[in-house]
């Protein structure tokens, strides 16, 4: 019975990672589509969104079933609690990817689509944070997320840079309002994804050490 439980727990971790990589890839592809003006990159997003929702549902069910059947304790319980929370954070990350993807077809047609400001840089930082949070969860290794707060601060700073630049741009050129508003939205989505990476890092820290921390 114990073997079976631990096998199921390993399978749960694999499911969370699979969902995490899908959510991260949705975000990455949406930004890449903006950069490359390649709308075909976001064509599968309806399917991905459905897959993400299914994974969210399956992981939640699996967690509740493991708790009900095995009454796990200690690190086993912390792993399940972490999986349940990560599930929600990762779902949100994937949805922000979808929200960015929705903007892509209109944006690539505008005259301003070459001006992405620091969005690609911000996306790289955010995606790196999510990847490392997932790696920390997979390997139960906190060293890869030790500097996550500093990275989060850089993401925040970039968001305000983009906000300021976009406001200036809108003041100078009324025709750029649509584009700039979308940039502000995208920066906001990426900043939220960075927050979710931090929340995942907090939960992984709890899973590994039993200690609850607040990164910010």
């Amino acid at each position: 019975m114990v073997e079976k439980f631990h096998g199921e727990l390993r399978s749960l971790k694999r499911d969370v990672l699979e969902m995490g990589y899908l959510a991260r890839d949705m975000l990455q592809r949406a930004v890449k589509a903006l950069e490359t003006r390649d709308v075909s990159m976001v064509e599968s997003f309806d399917r991905d969104k459905k897959r993400l929702a299914d994974q969210d549902h399956e992981i939640e069910q699996k967690c509740l079933r493991l708790i009900a059947l095995y009454q796990p304790v200690a690190k086993d319980l912390r792993t399940i609690a972490t999986a349940l929370k990560m599930n929600t954070y990762l779902y949100r990350v994937g949805r922000y990817g979808k929200d960015i993807a929705v903007l892509v077809p209109d944006l690539v047609d505008t005259r301003d689509s070459g001006r992405l400001a620091d969005i690609p840089l911000m996306a790289d930082l955010t995606i790196g944070m999510i990847t490392d949070a997932l790696t920390a969860f997979e390997r139960e290794d906190l060293s890869v997320i030790q500097d996550i707060l500093e990275r989060e601060e850089k993401v925040d700073a970039l968001r305000y840079d983009i906000l300021r630049e976009s406001l200036d741009c809108m003041k100078d050129d009324g025709g750029s309002i649509t584009w700039c508003t979308d940039c502000i939205m995208i920066a906001r989505y990426l900043e939220r994804c960075g927050d979710h990476a931090c929340k995942i890092a907090e939960k992984v820290h709890y899973m590994v050490t039993g200690e609850r921390i607040e990164i910010r």
């Binding site: 019975m1 009454q71 086993d76």
Partner: protein, 253 residues
């Protein structure tokens, strides 16, 4: 010993003949709480429980060193009366063991041998004890029927009522639910939690979920040692010792 500690052992060692069953146990049991002792078979948890009211005195080959303090007094001191200790520190066993007498006589037995003869007083003790053991409503109309006609769960609550009748301070329970079905177990667990308002309960259990549900403090024992003693939530959420973690998560051996 601070005010909140009712029982304490200091470097307690116990041998059964040449075999050492307890090694340097130092534990402080907080007053008016439920403390659970968990650990694999043969780890010494029942032996430790039996030390608290000197039940091991009944085993010829048992020998102890170290101290056991009840409310600050050494229970093995020459001046200590073992019967007084067992009156103050009662015990409930794994298998319900009512006397082959009526329900009433089971509860009245203890006070009677301690000299209580007045019927009104005995009636009062019987009712109070049965109420505290959450059994009164089920047996009040058949107090003079044989105790052995009760169900297993009722018999166990009767044994708890019997131990309460002599007004103990501490109740020791050695796997009190292992012979009971889940409904009777749930009733005993609810009772254990309620009893901790007025008494200190120490329970030995193989059922880790029971320890998690019913106790505020948990001690994990292994091969005669107390590996870890802490608040139950801490033990089951984030134990300090790897050995504890391995045992409670089933990764043992």
């Amino acid at each position: 010993m601070d005010d909140s500690t009712i029982l304490e052992t200091r470097d307690l060692n116990l041998w059964y003949g040449p075999k050492q069953a307890l090694l340097n146990i130092s534990i402080r049991v907080p007053k008016n709480t439920v403390t659970a002792l968990i650990g694999p078979s043969g780890c010494g948890k029942s032996t430790l429980l039996r030390c608290f009211n000197r039940m091991n005195d009944l085993i010829d080959s048992a020998r102890i060193t170290g101290q056991i303090l009840f409310e600050g007094d050494d229970i093995y001191a020459d001046r200590t009366d073992v019967y007084t200790i067992r009156e103050k520190i009662g015990m409930v066993f794994q298998k319900p063991n009512p006397f082959p007498k009526s329900i009433y006589e089971n509860v009245a037995y203890g006070p009677r041998i301690h000299g209580e003869r007045h019927k009104e007083m005995l009636d009062d003790i019987v009712e109070t004890s049965l109420r505290r053991a959450a059994l009164w409503d089920e047996v009040k109309d058949r107090l003079h029927e044989p105790a052995l006609a009760l169900s297993g769960g009722q018999q166990q609550r009767l044994c708890i009522a019997r131990s309460l009748a002599v007004e103990p301070r501490v109740i020791l329970m050695d796997e009190p639910c292992s012979a009971l079905d889940p409904i009777a177990t749930a009733k005993i667990e609810d009772l254990i939690i309620r009893l901790a308002r007025d008494y200190t309960v120490i329970i030995v259990t193989h059922n880790m979920q029971q320890a998690a549900r019913a106790s505020e403090y948990t001690g994990f024992m292994y091969m005669g040692r107390l590996v870890e003693f802490d608040r139950t939530q801490q033990i089951f959420e984030d134990p300090a010792e790897e050995l504890t973690e391995n045992y409670i998560t089933g990764r043992f051996g």
